[in-house]
Structures are given as C-alpha cells and as structure tokens.
C-alpha cells in the first residue's frame, strides 16, 4: 500500500508517494497560483511513473492550512475527492507542522500578508505553540527570545533565512491516529477569522427571516421559562408596524438580538439577549449603541427609551445603568410569577 501526499498551501506544489513511512518519489516546484491547473496532472504522472494504480493507494495525507486560502483548498479538495472515490483514510496535518525539523524545536512560519505571519512551534510530537497569526514585529521579538529554535519557512519577507525542510518527508509519516480526519466534513484551517475574542468582529444589523432559527435558540437559552414563540417573532418581524429586531452577528452567526418597539416619541425594549458563550464581550453594548443610533435616525423624534427588568436580575440592571438608564418606579407583581419589575427610562437626545 502507498500513501499519496499533497501540499499546496503556499506557492509550492508538492506531490509525493510514500511506502511504510518512507518517501518513495516526489514532485516539488514553485507553482505560484497555478496549482489548480497542475496538481492533478502531476499526481497522474507520479502514479504512472511508479506504476501505481488507484487500488494501490492506501491513504491520503494532505496539509490543511493555515496558508493561502485558495492553495489550501486545492490540495484538500483533491484529497477529499480521492478518499471519497477510493474509500481510504484521510490524514490532515497543519501546513506549519509539516515544516518542522526532525527533532529540534522549530518555529514554523509562513507569510500571512498584511504584515502578519502564520506561526506554529513544534518539537517532535509536541506542540510548543499552537498555530496562530502574529504581527511581524511580535514574531521577530519571539524569534529573538528563542535563539536555540530552528527557523523554518520561506522567510525572505522578514529579512531572515529559514531552514528549508522537506514537507513531503514529514507528510510521509503523517498516517497516525491523531491526524485521522472524517473525510466528508474535512475542511481547511483558515485562522485569520478566529483570531480570538479581542479582535472579534461584531456586526449589528436588522434581523431577516433566515436568522429565525438562531434567534429562537438564543431566546430559549436566555428566557427558558417565558420564551416568545416563533409566531411572536414572525409577527414582530413582518407584521407589527412598530416592531423592530436588530441582531448582532460574529462570523455570520447570530449571537444576540434586541427586540423593541417605536411608537411615536417613545420606544420600548421588549427583550435584549446575548448567547451565553458570547457574554461580557461587548455584544450587548454594540446592540444598545446601534439601537440608540437607530432611534436617533427616526424621522419623527424619539425622546425616550423604556424597559422593564426583573427585580432579581441585578446583572441586567447594572448593564442598563451603565447605558444611562434611570429607575423611574417599581411595578409590583409585574411578571406572571408575581415578581416585581423595575421600570427604567433613558432619554434619547437628538444631537
């Protein structure tokens, strides 16, 4: 049985054949954005040259990124198609890890552009630093702090020289349990999007029908006892002329929403909800900010924004106080279960 090894995560095109953990044959050259045209043909050539038929392929090992978005997808799509057709295992390896030295700790680097780099640090089976994205100055500092580490990658863009390491030799040993992937769902690692909550991009926009199922999930999570039904949301969204819903999204997932009404000069928040895992990350503040902006832009001046909150919900009250709400009165036994409500008001001044 042979292994088919593929990498096109950066400018290189690499195709290899392995047998028993050894690299048997390889084709490698710089293909600069021509991998889409050339890669399958190179696979055909290397199989033919080594007299290997498709039945002899025992597994496919491929790099999964991070790297060039298009490049990573090309090798991965080919790999997925091969394992789909031949029903053999698929092994996915980090595009950085395949650049590691045999036994010494290695800083594996590739150019992430816009003055950033993809960086992962590996020693043998151990991951010293998970794959991530670093600004180039920070990376240079990290390199200076670790003079004993090997540098690997095409580092001309940093004014450095990296050790050139054969990625196919590393890939030929990749058919181990921890790299085994579920072939149908296999997808690349893109990294730039998920660069942590500090740079999490929150977008607030008006709700559309397609958001319904996600909004309902958040509704049930936040208000398990008295959740609105889908019909109620549908009414607010499409029928109630005074009703509005804004949703907050992160990476195109809905993570929170605010449901409110505007009636002439006053407005009322019916509900504001943020998904548990996205709380304390500024989502509520963004929703509130956009809501106030929305109210200020109304053709008829809106003067007040009001809401009721459960007396026991002190977290929420703190949030509203922070956003310039003031307590006007307590409403006795306001809720179905007999709990009192605090009635809060904030003035909206058109500036």
């Amino acid at each position: 049985m042979f292994g088919l090894l593929l990498d096109s995560s950066n400018s290189a095109l690499a195709v290899g054949i392995s047998q028993d953990g050894k690299l048997l044959d390889e084709i490698q050259y710089s293909a600069n954005q021509r991998q889409s045209e050339l890669m399958v043909d190179e696979i055909a050539k290397i199989l033919e040259k080594n007299n290997i038929s498709k039945e002899d392929i025992g597994f496919v090992a491929v790099t999964k990124g991070p790297g060039s978005y298009t490049g990573v997808r090309i090798a991965l799509t080919i790999a997925k198609t091969v394992v789909f057709a031949l029903n053999v295992p698929l092994y996915l390896v980090s595009s950085l890890e395949v650049m590691k030295d045999e036994d010494r700790p290695t800083i594996c680097i590739s150019n992430a552009r816009s003055k950033r780099s993809y960086v992962g640090v590996y020693q043998g089976e151990t991951t010293i630093r998970e794959d991530g994205i670093m600004d180039n100055p920070a990376l240079l500092e990290y390199i200076a702090e670790h003079p004993d580490y090997v540098l690997s990658g095409d580092l001309g863009y940093l004014g450095l020289e990296g050790k050139s390491i054969d990625v196919l030799t590393n890939l030929s040993k990749a058919n181990v349990e921890r790299n085994l992937a579920e072939p149908l769902g296999a997808k690349p690692v893109y990294l730039k999007d998920s660069s942590g909550s500090s740079t999490m991009k929150i977008i607030v926009r008006e709700m559309i029908s397609a958001d319904m199922s996600q909004v309902m999930d958040i509704e049930k999570e936040c208000f398990p006892n008295d959740s609105y039904t889908e019909e109620q949301f549908h009414y607010e969204l499409h029928e109630n002329p005074f009703g509005h819903i804004l949703v907050a999204t992160v990476d195109s997932l809905v993570v929170g929403f605010v449901d409110f009404m505007v009636t002439f000069d006053s407005s009322t928040i019916n509900q504001i909800a943020v998904k548990e895992s996205f709380r304390k990350k500024g989502v509520g503040t963004r929703l509130m900010g956009k809501l106030v902006e929305f109210l200020k832009s109304q053709p008829d001046e809106v003067s007040f924004l009001t809401l009721e909150v459960r007396k026991s919900n002190t977290n929420a009250q703190r949030f509203y106080k922070k956003h310039a709400f003031e307590t006007i009165q307590e409403k006795k036994a306001y809720y179905n279960d007999g709990e009192d409500a605090i009635y809060l008001v904030r003035s909206i001044v058109n500036d």
Partner: protein
C-alpha cells in the same frame, strides 16, 4: 508627488488608464477613489486595454473581485463596496500582495489590507463627462511612476 489631469470625455478617461498601464509592475497597488458613476470602472477598462487584455472590464461589485490573466501581467480589480462592516479576511491579500497589478475601488473598507506603498487616484465628476483625475504617490516606487507618466504625456 502629485499630478492632476482633466479629461473632457469618457474616451479620454479611458485613454489615461491605457497610458498608465505600461508603467505598472507585478505587486503594484492602486486605490481608486470617487463616487458612484465617477468612472472608476471606465478608467480600469483603459488600464486593461493598456495591459493588452482583450476581455471586457465590467463592474466587480457582484464578484467583489474580477481577475484578468490574459495580459502582460495579471490585473486584479477589487470593489470593496460590499465589505463595509464585514469580515474582510476573505483572501484578498493574496491578490493585493500578488503577482499582478491590483486596482481597488472603495479601499476605505479594507484599509487593513492596503500596503504602505500605493498609488492613489481620485476621480471627481466635474459635470457631464468631464472628470478631474488626481494622482498621489505613496512611496518612492510611485513617485517614479508619476514622473514617468508626466514625461509620457
């Protein structure tokens, strides 16, 4: 360095793009500023012609980016209009720092992806088909380019 040209007709705007094209090298970035209808796509059409690309250049808004590979060097035409307040990490940097010349409309929406050195062209509508094209160089490479453009006149 700065430079300004007034064009009276659409064809002249296009011609200016055509004249600029031979000066472009791989990796050059050009920011195209101006309102809707200012003539940014017309100008890009001229650049394409000057690069010996015989495909028709049309608005890239739908695709965000259109690529033309059949000229002297590749031409990447990006329209970032739809990227306002969006995740901009959609692989455009591979083209912006790529192997061709990259013309970017609405660059303010992808500011983070713009390199230090670039040529900025602002097109102003002076009424009818009359346009003012203001060239502004950022970096030595584009100072030299504008100097050559002036000479080539």
């Amino acid at each position: 360095m700065e430079y300004e040209v007034i064009t009276e007709r659409k064809e002249e705007t296009k011609e200016l793009g055509k004249r600029l094209a031979p000066l472009f090298e791989r990796g050059d970035v050009v920011l195209l500023k101006g309102d809707l209808g200012a003539g940014k796509t017309t100008f890009t059409g001229g650049v394409a012609e000057g690069l010996s690309i015989d495909e028709k250049v049309i608005s890239p808004t739908f695709n965000i980016m259109k690529c033309y590979f059949k000229g002297r060097i590749p031409l990447y035409h990006i329209d970032a209009y739809r990227l306002e307040n969006q995740n901009i990490e959609i692989g455009l940097d591979e083209y912006i720092e790529g192997d061709g010349v990259c013309l970017i409309e609405w660059p303010m929406y992808i500011e983070k992806l713009i390199p230090d050195d670039y040529l900025e062209i602002t097109i102003n509508n002076l009424g009818g088909d009359k346009r003012r094209l203001a060239f502004e160089a950022h970096g030595d490479r584009f100072d030299a380019l504008i100097a050559k453009l002036k000479e080539a006149k």
